[in-house]
Each structure stands twice: as structure tokens, then as C-alpha cells.
């Protein structure tokens, strides 16, 4: 029973959905959720490969989760700060970068 290929394919699909979400949505929160989707997709491929390459893959997933948690905390804090400033979370309206 070898689910590696299938698991990687599912991982690729979810990752692509995450990318599509980032491209599709303008709502910063949903963009952020899409990023979480991508991280989960990568984690899934790690777990699938760990089956055959040893437990290091699973350890890595732990690290990714820690980083994702930290990133979510900081990212959401930034969104709150921006919302407080602009009264919106729409990325098209957050245009501080365009001179």
C-alpha cells in the first residue's frame, strides 16, 4: 500500500488552491488563510515523505507549525494595526507602497 504519490498529488492540489486564493482574494484575512492552506499542503507532503525517509520529516512539520503559529500571530497583529489605520482590510486599498 503506497499512498506517497497520491498524497503528494493531493498536497500539490491544496497548495495550488492556496496560491489561487492568494491571487483571487483581496481580503487580507482570506489571503492569510490561503497562506495557511499552502503551509498545510507542504506539511502534508512532508508527512507523506516521512513514511519512507524517516521521522525527520515529521519533526520538520513541528517546526513549520511553530513558524506558522508565530507568523499567524504577527500577521494578524499587522492586519489589526492596518485596519485601525485604514478602516479596511482590502489589499487594493492598502497602497502605501505606490509612491
Amino acid at each position: 500500500m503506497d499512498l506517497l504519490g497520491s498524497a503528494l498529488a493531493v498536497s500539490a492540489i491544496i497548495f495550488s488552491l492556496g496560491v489561487a486564493g492568494v491571487l483571487l482574494r483581496r481580503n487580507a484575512i482570506i489571503v492569510f488563510m490561503s497562506i495557511e492552506l499552502m503551509l498545510n499542503a507542504v506539511n502534508l507532503s512532508f508527512i507523506a515523505l516521512a513514511q519512507q525517509l524517516g521521522p525527520e520529516g515529521q519533526v520538520f512539520v513541528l517546526f513549520v507549525m511553530a513558524v506558522a503559529a508565530a507568523e499567524a500571530v504577527v500577521g494578524l497583529a499587522i492586519i489589526i494595526a492596518i485596519y485601525r489605520h485604514k478602516q479596511t482590510v482590502n489589499l487594493d486599498k492598502i497602497n502605501l507602497l505606490s509612491g
Binding site: 498524497a7 498529488a9 483571487l24 498545510n40 508527512i47 516521512a50 513514511q51
Partner: protein
């Protein structure tokens, strides 16, 4: 049965992820994302990573998603707003790019590694039998990856401080 379960949860994860990125309301999206997280946790368990599956439920479905919902509530984004979804051409571009990405990623998985990196069949099962599900991870984590593990604590501390600084009105 295992294969059926795998495909069932895979389909659930994919469909809920698709719904997550297409629903107008952030709250609905977040709920679908929770479903995706649970499905992926199930996939972890099916793939022999029971401990990670549990952590997935605790950290993602539990902590991170609650944080998301909390922020959504805090910012009061649940009510009806003009959609942030683009027109049909935006969907087309996204669909094209997404499809291309799937194809490329799938092609990448087809790449044969230069040497034989795969463990002998049944190695993981034997290790899990000897050390237990958590023991297999912990012996690696606390022996080979001790320094990165400790550094992670610094990262989390920095994240906590950063979040406080960013979200606070006046310091």
C-alpha cells in the same frame, strides 16, 4: 478501507479548501478552512503520523483558527460587504495559474532522486513499534534537532512581543 478513507478525506480537504477561497464571507471561509484542517489531520493519521495529526487538530484547528475567527470578529468583518472577488477574467487568470502550478508540482514529484534515499520497507513501522509513535519523533527532535528546537522558542517569544507591540494602541 485505508485507501477509501484516504481518498475520502483527500476529497473533503480539497473541496473544503476550494470553498474556503471562494466564499464571500470571511467567517464562512474560516469555517471551511477548519474543515480542511481536520481533513488534513485525518490524512496525517492515515499516513502514519498520529502524533502530528493530534498536534494539527490542537494547533491549527484549535489555536490558529480561533485566532483567525477572533480577529474577524474583532474587526467586525462578518457583515455584508461589497465582494472582494474579481470579475470573470480574474477567475480565469487564477484558474490558469493554478492549473499550471498543479501540473508543474505534479511533474516535480515525478523527478527520480539521484540516489536511493528510501528506507528499507517497514523501517518506520519497526521504529514506531520500538519507540512508540511519539518516541520516534522526540528522539529525533531532542537529539538531532535540539538547537533548532530551542531557537524556535526564541522565535515564538519574538512573535509574542511583536504581536503585542503591533496590536497595542499606545505603548
Amino acid at each position: 478501507m485505508l485507501v477509501f478513507n484516504f481518498w475520502f478525506f483527500s476529497g473533503l480537504a480539497i473541496i473544503s479548501a476550494l470553498l474556503c477561497i471562494t466564499r464571500r464571507s470571511p467567517v464562512v471561509s474560516a469555517m471551511w478552512l477548519v474543515v480542511t484542517m481536520f481533513s488534513i489531520a485525518a490524512l496525517y493519521i492515515i499516513l502514519g503520523a498520529q502524533f502530528i495529526g493530534a498536534i494539527q487538530v490542537l494547533v491549527y484547528a484549535g489555536a490558529i483558527m480561533v485566532l483567525f475567527l477572533f480577529v474577524i470578529m474583532l474587526l467586525n468583518l462578518g457583515r455584508d460587504e461589497p465582494t472582494d472577488l474579481p470579475g470573470w477574467w480574474g477567475h480565469a487568470i487564477t484558474f490558469g495559474i493554478g492549473t499550471l502550478l498543479i501540473v508543474e508540482l505534479w511533474a516535480v514529484t515525478r523527478i527520480v532522486p539521484a540516489g536511493e534515499v528510501r528506507l528499507p520497507a517497514g523501517t518506520m513501522d519497526r521504529v514506531m513499534e520500538q519507540e512508540g509513535v511519539v518516541g520516534a519523533i522526540s528522539s529525533t527532535l531532542f537529539r538531532d534537532f535540539l538547537v533548532p528546537f530551542e531557537i524556535t522558542s526564541v522565535l515564538l517569544l519574538a512573535a509574542v512581543v511583536g504581536a503585542v507591540v503591533l496590536a497595542k494602541r499606545r505603548i
